[in-house]
């Protein structure tokens, strides 16, 4: 992170050092080595500065939304900030979905957008859009630069804000006249933004209270979310779970925080969670929530969520505590130091609580409601594809998904064993997130295999980024679970709209051929027998040719994601996996 900046020597180039040069120098100083973006009129000075400097790799994309998701994939895979650069107006508004996605999933991102010159602001100039106004509700913070003098500080502050506390997207709107103005200095003084002081350690008194509550509990559960992954607190989580003997369930964003094969792991709770995770939460008497928003896809009907539990809530963002559910012990702090303190406290317990009866009950639920699916005759079950990948891939492989049924199959059946191995759009549920995020992840972690598991509907939404993957020779393997449907919506139509399949029947293009037309590799898979050889081929070819590979896998058309809690329903009243009877 501490690469010394080498601002360009104006004399040497016979050019003035400008605001745009300060942007590039500032980014380099903060350790930014890659930018995703698209050039256009008002951002040209910054691209010119990038070109002259040559020290930051720039990835030009097919569409700015792709740049935003690539930055997200890059950030989530590496833990570093993802940086996006676009022009004003449409270039900037195309980022909106990606910014909203990053905001919901607390992904660190800095977007720099060009803007019309200060004198034209507010006059509806060509390619003018009020990006500060538009992105205010979907960014952690945003800036419009008024003068070149404030640029170095704003740049330093933006990166600090994006990464610190609860991470999130930050936007800097840069009028063209500021970008071309002469700048007297390149770098900011040390960054100390007024009034912005993210908490870190949790309060010792509250940690003590939490420990007492857990010690008294008979049926405790840990519910861990994406905050554990972004804080790098997976070891501390495992420590606490093992020391105290408390079972752990993780939200979609938290998958990988505890290895899937860990005996204390219950899988994911909520709408498509495991029966045993939902039942454990329902019957729990104390729940330790860490780095989770407790969103409606986890809780289902709030009144019926964990009705007899008292909540301990650890979050770096105080506003999440008590937002959806009343909280008995609030702990405002970063997951890492707090979980560490809790694990140490639990290790010092004089009388170890006896959770054995609780573990036995959970074992009973695990036996009664195991995660299963049915292989349909003559068709390939989508879950089998995910399971096969889980068996074949090394545990460090990164799985990226789009949004829909395939995403839930992945969450249910892929054994995530390490943090940051699942990159998915959790909060916003952005179809089309997958391909660009996979490209960003692979660019950020070139040594790691990156697989995209996508749906035929989701994949089409940002398919233009295949061109980016080919251009930069990014060998991601895309496995499309193709059922010729917008499957998740079809599932709802089937279950809740009396099978009226309005507009969910897709006729996607032949994706293998599309991939080839873009210059990548593609192959169709139509039977279970072809699956493993095709996956092996894809891995081999991607690595050898350094090209994206698309496997278009024809899967069962009418599969359902089960278990399922009907929307607005109580979690304990889930529809179980096929062949299982729900007992009351």
């Amino acid at each position: 992170m501490n690469t010394p900046a080498k601002p360009m020597d104006p004399q040497q180039h016979g050019l003035q050092f400008t605001g745009a040069d300060a942007v590039v120098a500032g980014l380099k100083h903060q350790g930014v080595d890659m930018i995703f973006g698209m050039i256009g009129g008002q951002i040209m000075p910054v691209y010119d500065a990038l070109f002259k400097d040559g020290g930051i790799k720039h990835i030009i994309v097919g569409h700015e939304q792709g740049a935003a998701h690539m930055a997200e994939g890059y950030a989530r895979a590496t833990g570093k900030v993802g940086v996006v650069l676009t022009t004003s107006g449409p270039g900037a508004t195309n980022l909106v979905t990606g910014l909203a996605d990053a905001f919901m999933d607390s992904t660190p991102m800095v977007a720099i957008t060009g803007q019309v010159s200060s004198g034209l602001l507010g006059n509806d100039a060509f390619q003018e859009a009020d990006m500060r106004g538009i992105t205010m509700p979907i960014t952690k913070h945003n800036y419009q630069i008024n003068s070149v003098e404030e640029l170095p500080e704003v740049l330093a502050e933006a990166l600090f804000v994006a990464l610190s506390g609860r991470p999130g997207p930050v936007l800097i709107d840069l009028p063209k006249d500021v970008a071309v103005a002469a700048c007297s200095r390149a770098l900011a003084v040390p960054c100390a933004p007024t009034g912005y002081k993210p908490p870190y350690r949790g309060h010792p008194l509250q940690i003590g209270r939490a420990l007492k509550m857990l010690q008294k509990a008979r049926r405790p559960v840990i519910l861990a979310g994406g905050g554990v992954v972004s804080a790098g607190a997976h070891e501390e989580l495992k420590d606490l779970a093992e020391t105290a003997g408390i079972p752990v369930t993780t939200s979609l964003m938290g998958l990988g925080a505890l290895p899937a094969d860990h005996p204390l792991f219950l899988g994911m709770p909520g709408m498509h969670g495991t029966g045993y995770a939902n039942l454990a939460l329902y019957h729990a008497d104390a729940i330790l929530c860490v780095g989770t928003r407790l969103d409606d896809r986890i809780t289902g009907k709030l009144e019926a969520f964990a009705p007899s539990a008292a909540f301990i809530h650890v979050d770096v963002d105080a506003s999440e505590i008590g937002k959806n559910l009343p909280c008995a012990v609030p702990i405002v702090g970063d997951a890492k130091p707090v979980l560490k303190a809790l694990a140490q406290g639990a290790a010092d317990w004089e009388t170890k609580p006896d959770y054995q009866p609780w573990h036995q009950r959970i074992e009973g639920w695990k036996k009664r409601y195991p995660m299963t699916y049915v292989d349909p005759p003559g068709e390939l079950a989508p879950q089998r594809v995910v399971e096969t990948l889980g068996r074949m891939l090394p545990e460090e492989a990164i799985i990226v998904t789009g949004v829909g049924q395939h995403q839930m199959y992945t969450a249910q059946f892929y054994p995530f064993r390490r943090p940051r191995t699942l990159i998915t759009s959790g909060g916003l549920g952005t179809m089309g997130f997958g391909l660009p995020a996979a490209i960003g992840a692979k660019l950020g972690r070139p040594e790691t295999e990156v697989f995209l598991i996508d749906g035929d509907g989701s994949f089409l939404m940002t398919i233009q980024e295949l061109a980016t993957a080919v251009r930069y020779r990014v060998p991601v393997v895309a496995v499309i679970l193709n059922n010729n449907f917008l499957g998740m919506v079809r599932q709802w139509q089937e279950l809740f709209y009396d099978k009226r399949l309005a507009e969910t029947d897709l006729q996607p293009p032949p994706y293998a051929q599309v991939a080839q037309a873009f210059g990548g590799l593609g192959r169709e898979v139509t039977s279970a027998e072809e699956l493993e050889p095709a996956l092996a081929w894809a891995r081999r070819e991607a690595a050898a040719k350094r090209l994206p590979v698309v496997l278009d896998v024809a899967v069962q058309r009418d599969a359902l994601v089960l278990p399922m809690v009907p929307p607005g329903g109580a979690n304990a009243e889930f529809i179980p996996c096929p062949g299982q009877e729900k007992e009351d």
Binding site: P137, G195, K197, H203
Partner: protein, 194 residues
Amino acid sequence: MESISPISVLVRNETGVLSRVSGLFARRGFNIHSLAVGETDNPQVSRISVVVAGDPPIIEQVVKQLRRLVSVIKVSDLTDKPRVERGLALLKVKAEPAQRGELLQLVNVFRARVDHVDNECLILEVTGNREKVEAFIDIMRPHGILEMARTGQIAMARGRGPMADYWAAGALEPADEEATFNLSRTGDPNWDQE
């Protein structure tokens, strides 16, 4: 129990900050009774005084969501604190010369002021907390209010108060790590008690 809560917000004095705060209220569906903004003695800092209606969990969310904004320096909920609270209203009231006497008596009772007189109307100015301003408006209503303008309520805790301590602690100076923790914007409800 729904209460009317005055909340005091110190913000960085920069363009767009009012929009951030008001947008937050709109987006989260918080109900604003009144809002007033002005610079403080430190030109880098503005104070937004906002009066919000809601039950205690809502008010807690308002405070926490405000603290989340990067432009917000300090939030203080003055609901249960001894405080001075003031707002101002200007009322243009119909008053032919014959009715002036009665109106002026009422003005005296409320310690209001007359800012303008002519043969058709008076412009009256009343200052006070919300109850007083509203009582005065109610009293004037039967006389015929031609026009009215009100400011938002501004409020300040009595005694030294948390804001004053915050200043004294050098809130606007770059803090070292330990001080960062002590002045953390955590919103931990039990923080103050220890």
